[in-house]
Amino acid sequence: MKIPWFKKGTTNLSEDLVCNMMVEINNPPGGKVIFNSMTYYFCAPGCKIEFQKDPIGYISGEKHNPM
């Protein structure tokens, strides 16, 4: 697993549910997906596309694709 991009003192990080990397929510490299009023952030477009195929699977934790 890659070391997530980490800035000292910042707490606005979110987990990419597909690859489990930490993503900064202010500028997510892979963009966002809003599903059932919740926002999910992604490290790359690939993860975002993957997430859309089965959002519930990733949110429930049933599915994940660690890189």
């Binding site: 500028n27 997510p28 963009g31 966002k32 997906v33 809003i34 599903f35 059932n36 926002t39 477009p45 975002k48 596309i49 859309q52 195929k53 959002p55």
Partner: protein, 758 residues
Amino acid sequence: MEENKEELTLIIEGMTCAACVFHVESAISKLQGVSKVAVNLITEKARLTYIPQISSIPDIKLAVRKSGYSAHTENKLAPEYGITAKRLKTLRLKTVISALLTTTLILMMYVPIFENFLGHQKHYVFFIITSIIIFGCGKDFYLSALHSLRNKTTNMNTLVSLGTSVAYGYSTLLTILIFLDMQNSSSHTYFDMASIIITLVLVGRYIESRMRKQTTDAIRSLVNTAPITATVLRDNSEVPILADQIIIGEIVIVYPGETIPVDGIIITGVSMVNESMLSGESMPVTKKATENVFASTINTGGKLTIKALSIGSDTVHARIIQLVEEAQESKAPVQRFADKASSYFVPIIIASSIITFALWLILPAGLQVEKAIISSISVLIIACPCAMGLATPTAIMVTTGIAAKSGILYRDAATIEMSSRVNTIVFDKTGTLTLGVPEVIEIITSGLHSQESLLTFAASIESESEHIIAKAIIKKQTATNTPIPLAKNVTIEIGKGASGFVDGHFIQIGNWGYVNKLDSNKTPPFNELNKHLAQVYISIDNNYAGNFVLNDQINPRAIETVQSLKKMGIEIYLLSGDHKTVTENVGQKVGIKNILSSKLPHEKLEFIKYLQNKNHIVAMVGDGINDGPALMQAEIGIALNNGSDMAIEAAKINLNNTNLLNCANSLSLARYSLKKIKQNLFWAVSYNITLVPIAAGALYSLTADIPIPYLLTGLINDNGLLNPIAAAAAMGFSSISVIANSLTLKRFKLILHQENNK
């Protein structure tokens, strides 16, 4: 006891005609616990359901043996269709020996040198040669006839045996009398007649067997596509094993050029796969990871690793073969009648022969023993129940075979018969005339941007979305061959839309509410057709910029299909649950005038019933998923399936959904097939009705007094009667011509998709 029932397929040997089929069927049916018996003359198989506790397999085999035939269980690994190569070889050997001996006999009888050389000993030599022919080469006819006699039944062989025995018996009697000096040695014997008849019948049967084998070519080639060996990954190494040893879930490796042994999902690799044995489509299909592949399709591209999901008899290919076999072994209603008629046919012919014999003895012309014998033999020999028995199954066999190869599966023979009478076809819209996949049919711009730039902006954002509409927009953009710029900060709101930055512009795509977040009182622009179609709106820098109109994609073969059906004189209806304007739009594009829209499933069913009440014979085409009731109600339900599910129960005809044209093909092939069946039956019946009386001497008054040219004496004896040898040739010709006629079905031309015909 329902759960104890088992299905069994037996290979039956020794059947020659429809009467045999009837005998085997009734012998097995008489057993307790046995039901649904179907015997097929062409595949030489009996398929039945039985309860093992009541009647065991040996019991069933014994019943078949008692009825005069032999039965053995099928070898699952190498299923056989029709006559085996070994039996064909034996038959050829017998035919050749018989022909050689008969030629020798004829030379001795009719070439003066030999005749003079042999002197009055000649009858003994003739007797020996003929005995070899009859008891050596023709043994099977007599054994089969004896078996039947023991069971108080008759068949084709009864007639051949009787006819030749009369000639042989009479000649043998004469020979004995000559030997005893009670008869003049110049008396005419009929050994040549018996030998030639046996030879001709053997030749006929050999040609017939070879041709019957050809009728099962298509199914045999379908079965033979399954690979015998496979490579699997076990303990990280590639292990070659037999294909039937693959376990579900195992990783199978398929190299280019190899046949895929299982139904499964691709784990790694990209390749072109030839699926023609399933779909009839000759173009290979690109397959990549996560996509399904099917057993017996051929990997024509790169190395694939596949996870096995279904194996053996559970694969799509195996199910298709089973469906085709069941169809081939089923019986068309017209054939049931022919089978029954054949079982009465032989006794009637024997009676006719006896009557002929008697009439020649008591007729005013006086005691004409010789003529009586000749004409009664002719009657026995010329009668051909085989032709009647072969008329239907050979045609059904060829039809189902070529149909299966083209991706058409008929449920049974009755389906083919009924399909040929269809005069009305009803199409469901979605998934048949349309693909069920949306496409962008129109781009409406507000005027601020060009259609092209709207499409490029939209495609750029949508390339990060998984939505089906996003795919339609990207497909449209890809067709323009302009590059898609990279979007930044794309946010997808599932169920609503997507937004992001492209070339510094903020783009939003989605439903009206999503795009016009700020001004939700605005109403979107519409026209009459668009109102009922899916719309996607786009805004650029928070200004409404235009919309994409999407419609279900028209099946590229829909227009050709409708045209072909019209050419066949079939009335076409379009029935849909969709709104009027949308349905009419599709109808107009494909050329259907009779359109019924906004129909619920039960209303579709009612409409089919309505048509049926007006004496229409209706075929209903649907995707098989939500049209079940209507498919069942129609005389012929045609289901378009995707490759993985080729056997929808509700449907009488299952088609692969890649080729809609097969709707037309399945009906026109059925028509052609029934035309052949009718020709065959007409030929078989008229052959017997015409030639049996001629053989009996009906034309004697015409031919008696005219001199018969020497060349025609093979046909008509110098006494004005039909030559029994000609009768034997005619009989063989009759069966062969019926099969040959069925084989012409192979020339049936499928309506093919014209790539440039838009």
